[in-house]
Structure formats: structure tokens, C-alpha cells
Amino acid sequence: MGVRVEIADTLQQALRLLAESEPPVRLLAGGTDLLVQWRRDPPDSGTVIVLGHIPELQVIEARPEGIYIGSGATHAALRDSALLKAKVPAIVTAASGVGGRQIQSTGTIGGNIANASPAADLAPPLLIADAQVVLQSVRGERKVPLDTFYRGYREIDLREGEMIVGFLVRPLEPGGVEFFRKLGMRSAHAIAKVSVAMRLVLEGRKVCRARIALGSLAEVPLRAEEAEKWLEGRELSRETIQEIGERVRAVVRPIDDIRSTARYRRWVAGNLVRGFVESLAAGD
């Protein structure tokens, strides 16, 4: 036996290979997650399809239905994109904090999401931008909202023969502001022990729309929908600031692990959310 490695040059070719190759078939984008896993547990049969040479997957552009980010866009491409910086700045902040420069040059947004880690740095900023996951197979295309794409711990709604081709995200509305912050065990090259992304659309001091997403605080990247609903329509008052942290703490489901403790994670998630709201109230 052995593993067959196929290098796809076009999306169509990749999809065909995905449908027809000797199973198990694995997709390799930047390989920064996969190669680490393979070091301990190398594959010994089936096919590996290399996605890194497919131009269609690397597109980042504004489309009528939203901003489109190809699944093969590297963290470096996200980090350096003027379009994203203007329209979905939290993605840029998150991408700039992934691993170190080497990982950013290689790792992709698609791999980050498909790896299905609750700590994936790109998940919270995508969630606050109402991201849709664009999936394709030889049978056709499907779009799934990212918050329902996550099914459970390390489980995603990716069907046999399908791959992620990109993400459609909602650009920042007028009056909108975004925030992303990750806490790791050191300043760089650190997996998030807590991450928080927020998008608030303000009219004066009133919150019209709120999105709050959290990483490493549950078995999946989480949207704090109850807290969002509670916040929408409220003034940025002292009471709001006091309360929002508690609302967020009420929805998270953190655990104790080698990186952190559940109690700390819950507390700090509330603080980060509250701190951002407070900074907006203070007008900075």
C-alpha cells in the first residue's frame, strides 16, 4: 500500500480527485495542523490531495453578497489584506496573532476552520461576521452558516466528497466596530486559552446589532446569542457595562485543561467583553 499524493491545479480537478481517489482521502492545505498530527500518527493508505496550488482557493474579494475569502487564503494574506482590514478588521487582528510568521505564511483559513478546534483563532472573527461556509463537491455547492457548521467537539458538517472552498462574510456596517483578543500561555506561538471577538453596530450610544463569539470557552467556537440579544437595543450605560460580562459568563461552558482553568476562563471572557463595551462607552 502506501499513500498517494495528488497535487491539484484547479478546483475542478481537486473536486474530481476528491470524488474518485482511493479512500481515505485527505485534503492538505498548509499542512500546519495535519503534519503535526501525522508525525504521531502517519497515514499509511489512501490519498492526500494537495490544495496549495489552486488559485481559485486563494481569492479575497468583495462580491455583491458579501466579502469572499477563499479557503486557501493564508493567515499572511488575511493579515496583509487592505480590504479585510477595512471591512472585517477582527479577521486581520486574529490572523496576525496566529502562531508566528512562518505559520502565518503557510497555514490557511480553511484549514483553521476544518481542523475543527474550539481554539481556532479565526473562528470567532468569522462568527461575528455571520460567515457562511461555502462548500463544494462534484455534486454541487452548499452554504452553511458557520455557527451551525460546528456540530460538536471536533465535529463539523462536512460531507463525504465535500471541501470548503471559501467563506462569505458580512462587511462591517456603518457605525460598526470590531474587537478581537486572544490570551495564550505566551505572547506568540500560543494556542488560545481564551479568545473573544465582538462586532457592535452603534447609533450614538445605542447598540443596534451585537455579535459576540468566543473561542476555547466551549466544545466548539461559540456565539453568545443570548448576550447579543440582551445587548441589542441597549444604551452603553453603566448598567449595561456591569451586566454584559455576567451575561457572557452565563453562556460559556469552559473546562479545566493543561492550558487553563474553567473558572479563570469564564471570568476573563466576561471581562474582555465588558472591557470592549466600556471602551466604546468611554468613546475611545
Binding site: R186, H189, V268, R274
Partner: protein, 768 residues
């Protein structure tokens, strides 16, 4: 800032001898080396933490035709690591005492085949109860439960009862530290090559060729001349390659002799972290009596180290730990009780600092608490209680009239503007989102071996004249001290060049080979520059005298001459070039080519090993660190912003390398202080890779300001004292003290993480 005195090559920032070959990737590490027909070795390990071996089963479906298996019965000599206490077998034959303990060895043509073969050998073991988790040990100890001790040692001075009778205040606290991994870049590795005479050649990554050599003679039942040990380029060690290489060398040698082929074994990162030595976890209780005006009347210390399955180096780690347990501060009545507990984990071992970082975490945290208890600032309290000339330490060693301690303390306080900044510490104020704190640690490191160690080793080293020619060296250093990235090759060449009066390019220092070099003692204990440097200096001076005598006869009709800057000059202005003189000198074979010298302790040194009384070290290096930290209130993220470091390491031989050692030690200490954490789960170290064993990265490093004050070692030519370990010793307490003054709450166990801080102040935070 570096203010060092220069004396020719001593004090000169000479470029590192090994810099270019390493930067260009040309250096050959053991894993780069291939030998003809070489096989790979792998270790069969115990699957349980404790148990009794009933047999080894070989998977009948595995193809054993190209595998060599070594079991304890194959050992020709003694199946025991001689080290200090003869208790650790190379291969467990009856009882296994930790999970992963080697029980058999295999070799096969490829690394993969060797691993597969190792996995196909199944030890049958009757499991027995085990003790693995450090917290359990501490709990049992405090409850007065039963524990097995690998070693005990006490230090007594004065009358402890009286010390507490005189006390007006008594402060009692406990301090803890955990396992830590050396994390040298290059993992452990060796090659053994069988020799035609039935002997064996060992090449590999090690700190101490003369530790490996006698162990292999005993293991293989070979006479000394049939075992040859050669160091290859070493990619970091930090103590982790002090004693462990004897094991892996033994494994390769057993496999090589049985298979008749060269056998290589190089651990991967996981195997290296899981099954090689770690820093001893510690639990230290200080109970201290004080007068209200801040004088220490009595000092009782309970010093517990967790040693793992076998004693190995634990007795000497404990020795260093207890000697440093109260060091620096005057007190007439001291009782220090040291213990090493046996558990069912891999043996704890050497790691930069060797018991001292644990001692100083406790001591320097505690001294801050003592200052507070009597209402003094931490700097005031230290200045009041620091040894003065003529005082005695806990061992009774007399403090010299002039020494570096008070000077580094004052200088660091002044440079960091400690007093003014201390007044601005946040102490958990709710008025600010960023808490600021400043803290200090005042500490030292006994240079060289503990007690009579140096007297027993009698370190020897030599300089040899060589022919030069084609740019070859004229002088070759023969010493067993190893370069492992710390700069030994460079500074020892500087010392010899200086003593001789020749350019450094004429002096070479090849990697040691036991067939060619005398035993200069191991490359440990911050002793190389101080001790081996002193010996080489003397040897070079003897060589210089001999050459000057020769030149004066041969060229100057008996007129006296001096060798300086590679030229022999007589009083009347005649001159002969060094190279020419050496070539002439070597023309007659019977002339002395090799000049050897031996280390001796300062005159009058005394040591009572049983009672730990006397001169614990030939001298001490001193340092004071002042750390400043910032804590973000919303996340409790702790950021060290600046460290002011003032150190007395005696004469600074190479200021750039010395600064590098301080920076490296500081950053390594920062990891120990704030990040590094090896839990124990199911008898294994939990963080077994770089993804989970977190060490600082470049962005975590604060501003570091370094100053050296020179109080030279008085009994050697170069005047250097120890530097290697000192820089790590005081980092954690300096950060811990700064953190205390930032948040208003002290953490007593390492590492200092936001999570721990949160647990400590949770109630207060939730109220806010």
C-alpha cells in the same frame, strides 16, 4: 552596560570559536553522523510505574531475523550506574520503579524497525502500588505519613531553641516548585562503535566524558584503555546531559558489542522529555524568628526535594540546595533539614542551578515576607541583614572582609531606583487597570563543586605544543571540559592565550576525547572557567617559563627574555618570533611538550562532609535582580517589563559571552517563573512536547540591563568565578516579589500564572 577590566585577552569580547560553523549549519551533531553499517537502537520500557518483572514476551508474529535484543542477562559487567549511590540499574531486572524504565534494548537496521521491534517486546510485570504525584508526596510528608528517603542531610549552626526564644516575631511559610525540563535544542544521542580489540568507541552529546568512561568500563567489564569516549558537537545541555548520557551510551555500547556493529540512538523530543531527568520539584518551609527591628534570631528550614526512582545526583543537588537555603543573611542559630523523597518517577537530576533555584525561590520570597513582618522595605531589610565581612554562613564558612554581595545589592537598588519605584507599586489598587510592581532578589551561587568535591576530583588539564604549520595551532588545550554552547572553547582559549602571551589564533581547543585528555572534572557546577581556567592558566604559565628558558639559552646567550604578543624579547632588544621558537623547541623530541597542572582549593580550606561544616565552596558569585512587572487587571496577564541585573562573577573573561549567559539564564528563569509546568498523569510527565511544554519566546523577554562588578577569585591567575548557573537562580523570586507588590497578594508556588493569581484573589476580584 558592561564595565569590566581588560587585561589582554581577559576581558575582551573575542568572537566565539564555534560561532561560524554553527551559524552556517556545518557543525556535525550526533544525529548528523553515520558510521559504516550502522544500526539504530531503541529502548523497551516498563508500561507501569512500579512492579515486578515476570518475563519478557516477544511478539511471535514479528520478524526478529534482523533484530538484536539485549536483556539484563547480556550485561558483561555490573548492571548499575556507579554515580554517587549505586542504586540505579542500566536495565531493570527484577523491580521496575518508574513508568518508562528501561527493561531491554533492541537494535535494527533502521530507526523505524528498531522502534517497531521495541514495541513488539512486551514486558510481563506484576504491578505494585506507586507514588508519582509531587502534591501527594507533600501531603503525606505534612501529615507525617510514611515516605522513603533517598538522602538526608542537615546543617546546624548555634542553638535553634535559643534563636526562637529570642524572637519577637515568628514567620512561617511554605514555598513550592515543580518539575522543569532542560529543553536543550539537541535531544540526547549517542553512537557506539565496536573496536577490533574488543573495546568500544562512544561518540555523542554529553557534558562529562569522564562520567561516561568509568560507567562503561564497569558495565562492559572492560579495562579503561578499551573504552574511548569522544564528545560530538553538543546543542545545549543545561545539566540534562550531566549524568543521563552514561545511560544512553551504555545502551548503545551493549547493543554494539552484541551486534558487532555501530549502533546509534537519538531520542525524539517526546521520548527525551518523558524519560530523561527534570529539575527536582521542591517543598520548602521556612520558620524564622525576628526581633521587631528586623534582626534574624533563629532560622529553621525544612527542605524537601522529590528525587524520583533512584538517587543518581540527588545527594549533591540537595547539598547545594540546603547550603543556599538561608545564604546571604546573618543569623547565629540555624537548622536546615534536607530530604530527598523517593517516588516512582524518572530520577530527577541536574538542571542549571542544581537545587539553588528551588532554594532561592523559597528564601528570597521569604525574606520579602520577613521585611513586611517587621514593617521594613525589602531593600532595607536585606541591607540590614546581609553578611558583613567576618560573619559566618550556616556551614560556618567565614565571609571575607570584601566580597561582592553588598556591592551588587546597592548597585542594583540604585540603578533601578528601587526605593522611589517601590513607593509606586499598585498593590491591587482598584484605581488602575494596570498594576505595577517592583521586586528584588539577592542571591548567589557557590562556584565549583560543593564541599571537598574539588579536592577529591583534583581537576587536571594540560596545554601541549604542536607544530603549527599550514595555519595549524601551535598550542593545543587538553581538557575534558565540553563546549555545549556556553562558550567554554572560547574563554579557555582566551585564558591560555593571555597566560602565554600569544594570539588566540595560535591556541586550539578540540572537543575532548578520553584517549587524549586528562580528567578535568565534569562540565558542571559553574566550574569550568573558574576551576579549569585556573588550571590551564597555571599550565600555560609553566609552558611559557619553559619556552622562555629555552629561547634565552638558544637565541639570547642566556639573557633573560619575556614572551609577549607572540615575540620573545630580551632586555637588550633581541627578538624571536613565537612560531619559530616553538618549531625549534620541538625539533628535539625529548623536550617537554605537554604541561599539565592540577587544581587545588584555597589554602586552609576545610570541609566536614558528615556535618556539613566548613568551606562549602571555594568562592561565591553574587547577584541582585530587580524585576518590574505589569499586570493587566482584566486578564491578570503578567508582563515582566524590565530586569536590572547586577552581578559579581569575579573577573569577566569575555563580556559578550558573559552577558549572553546572563540573558539566557534570565530568560530560562523566566520560563521557570511564569510558564513551565510539567504535571504528572498516570506516572508520566504530562507536558511531553513543545505544544504543551511552554517556554518563553522572544516577545516575552523584558528589557534586560546588565552590569558586572568584579570581585575576582583571589586564588587563580584569571580570577574568574562561576557564571553558568547564577543567572537563573534569582529570576523567579524577583518576579514573584514584584508580582506581590503589584497585586497585593503573594503566590507561594511556581509557576506564576494568571490562573493561579485568579484563584488567589478571586473573591476580591468578583467583589470589584
Amino acid at each position: 552596560m558592561v564595565t569590566v577590566t581588560r587585561r589582554g585577552y581577559i576581558g575582551l569580547p573575542v568572537e566565539r570559536t564555534d560561532a561560524i560553523e554553527k551559524a552556517q549549519g556545518k557543525a556535525q551533531y550526533v544525529d548528523d553522523l553515520r558510521r559504516p553499517d550502522m544500526w539504530y537502537g531503541a529502548v523497551v520500557r516498563s508500561p507501569v510505574s512500579h512492579g515486578f518483572i515476570e518475563g519478557l514476551d516477544r511478539d511471535p508474529d514479528f520478524d526478529w531475523s534482523r533484530v538484536v535484543l539485549v536483556t539484563p542477562e547480556d550485561i558483561p559487567g555490573r548492571n548499575v550506574v556507579e554515580s554517587l549511590v549505586h542504586d540505579m540499574p542500566f536495565l531493570a531486572s527484577q523491580e521496575v520503579r518508574y513508568r518508562g524504565e528501561p527493561v531491554a534494548l533492541v537494535a535494527a537496521p533502521t530507526r523505524e524497525a528498531a522502534r517497531a521491534a521495541a514495541a513488539a517486546v512486551k514486558p510481563r510485570i506484576r504491578a505494585a502500588p506507586s507514588l508519582t504525584v509531587p502534591d501527594d508526596v507533600v501531603r503525606i510528608y505534612k501529615e507525617g505519613g510514611e515516605l522513603e528517603y533517598l538522602w538526608r542531610q542537615d546543617i546546624r549552626k548555634g542553638d535553634i531553641e535559643r534563636g526562637f526564644r529570642e524572637a519577637e516575631i515568628v514567620v512561617e511559610r511554605e514555598y513550592r516548585t515543580g518539575y522543569a525540563e532542560q529543553l536543550y535544542l539537541e535531544p540526547q544521542g549517542m553512537i557506539a562503535v565496536p573496536q577490533e580489540d574488543g573495546g568500544v568507541l562512544i561518540e555523542g552529546s554529553m557534558q562529562c566524558p569522564y562520567y561516561v568512561h568509568p560507567e562503561l568500563c564497569a558495565l562492559l567489564n572492560l579495562p579503561p584503555e578499551k573504552v574511548r569516549v569522544r564528545q560530538t558537537v553538543v546543542g545545549g545541555a543545561f545539566g540534562g546531559k550531566e549524568d543521563f548520557p552514561s545511560l544512553i551510551a551504555g545502551y548503545c555500547a551493549l547493543l554494539a558489542l552484541k551486534s558487532g556493529r555501530a549502533v546509534k540512538m537519538v531520542f525524539d523530543r517526546e521520548e527525551d522529555i518523558l524519560f530523561t531527568t527534570k529539575r527536582h520539584p521542591s517543598w520548602v518551609r521556612h520558620r524564622t524568628g525576628l526581633t521587631r527591628d528586623g534582626r534574624i534570631t533563629g532560622w529553621q528550614v525544612d527542605f524537601l526535594l522529590i528525587g524520583g526512582a533512584y538517587a543518581t545526583l540527588s545527594p549533591v543537588v540537595l547539598a547545594r540546595g540546603i547550603i543556599h537555603a538561608t545564604i546571604g543573611y546573618r543569623c547565629d542559630n540555624v537548622l536546615i533539614e534536607g530530604r530527598v523523597v523517593r517516588t516512582h518517577m524518572p530520577p530527577s537530576g541536574a538542571f542549571r542551578g542544581f537545587g539553588a533555584p528551588q532554594a532561592f525561590w523559597a528564601l528570597e520570597s521569604h525574606v520579602d515576607e520577613l521585611a513586611e513582618a517587621c514593617g521594613m522595605r525589602p531593600d532595607e531589610f536585606r541591607l540590614r541583614n546581609a553578611y558583613r565581612g567576618g560573619d559566618t554562613m550556616a556551614t560556618g564558612q567565614k565571609v571575607p572582609e570584601e566580597y561582592g554581595g553588598p556591592a551588587v545589592l546597592r548597585k542594583a537598588l540604585e540603578q533601578s531606583r528601587f526605593e522611589a519605584r517601590f513607593a509606586h507599586c499598585s498593590r491591587g489598587s482598584t484605581l488602575t487597570d494596570r498594576w505595577y510592581g517592583i521586586g528584588l532578589a539577592y542571591f548567589c551561587h557557590g562556584a565549583g563543586f560543593t564541599g571537598d568535591g574539588e579536592a577529591r576530583i583534583k581537576a587536571r588539564a594540560a596545554v601541549e605544543l604542536a607544530g603549527g604549520g599550514e595555519g595549524g595551532p601551535l598550542v593545543v588545550i587538553r581538557a575534558s571540559s565540553t563546549e555545549m554552547g556556553q562558550g567554554a572553547q572560547t574563554v579557555l582559549r582566551q585564558i591560555v592565550a593571555e597566560a602565554l602571551g600569544v594570539p588566540i589564533e595560535s591556541v586550539s581547543y578540540p572537543l575532548p576525547d578520553t584517549a587524549l585528555v586528562p580528567d578535568s572534572g565534569p562540565t558542571v557546577a559553574s566550574r569550568t572557567t573558574m576551576v579549569v581556567g585556573a588550571v590551564l592558566y597555571d599550565a600555560a604559565v609553566a609552558m611559557k617559563k619553559a619556552l622562555e628558558g629555552f629561547v634565552s639559552q638558544q637565541f639570547f646567550d642566556g639573557a633573560d627574555c619575556v614572551l609577549e604578543e607572540a615575540v620573545f624579547r630580551s632586555g637588550s632588544g633581541q627578538a624571536v618570533d613565537f612560531e619559530r621558537a616553538v618549531q625549534d623547541y620541538l625539533r628535539t623530541a625529548e623536550r617537554q611538550q605537554r604541561f599539565e597542572a592540577v587544581f587545588s582549593l584555597p589554602p586552609g580550606s576545610q570541609w566536614d562532609q558528615e556535618n556539613f561544616r566548613g568551606d562549602a565552596y571555594p568562592d561565591y558569585s553574587w547577584a541582585c535582580y530587580v524585576a518590574e512587572v505589569e499586570v493587566e487587571r482584566a486578564t491578570l496577564a503578567i508582563r515582566p517589563i524590565r530586569v536590572t541585573a547586577v552581578l559579581d562573577i569575579g573577573r569577566v573573561v569575555n563580556p559578550v559571552l558573559a552577558e549572553g549567559q546572563v540573558e539566557g539564564g534570565l530568560v530560562q528563569g523566566l520560563g521557570y517563573a511564569m510558564m513551565e509546568k510539567v504535571g504528572v498523569r498516570d506516572g508520566l510527565f504530562e507536558a511531553d512536547r513543545l505544544q504543551t511544554y511552554i517556554v518563553p519566546g522572544v516577545l516575552d523577554i523584558p528589557e534586560i540591563r546588565i552590569t558586572f562588578l568584579e570581585f575576582p577569585y583571589r586564588y587563580s591567575g584569571p580570577g574568574a568565578k562561576g557564571l553558568g548557573e547564577l543567572p537563573l537562580n534569582g529570576v523567579a523570586p524577583a518576579i514573584g516579589n514584584a508580582l506581590k507588590h503589584a497585586v497585593g497578594r503573594r503566590i507561594h508556588d511556581l509557576p506564576l500564572t494568571p490562573e493561579k493569581l485568579f484563584r488567589a484573589i478571586e473573591e476580591r476580584l468578583v467583589e470589584q
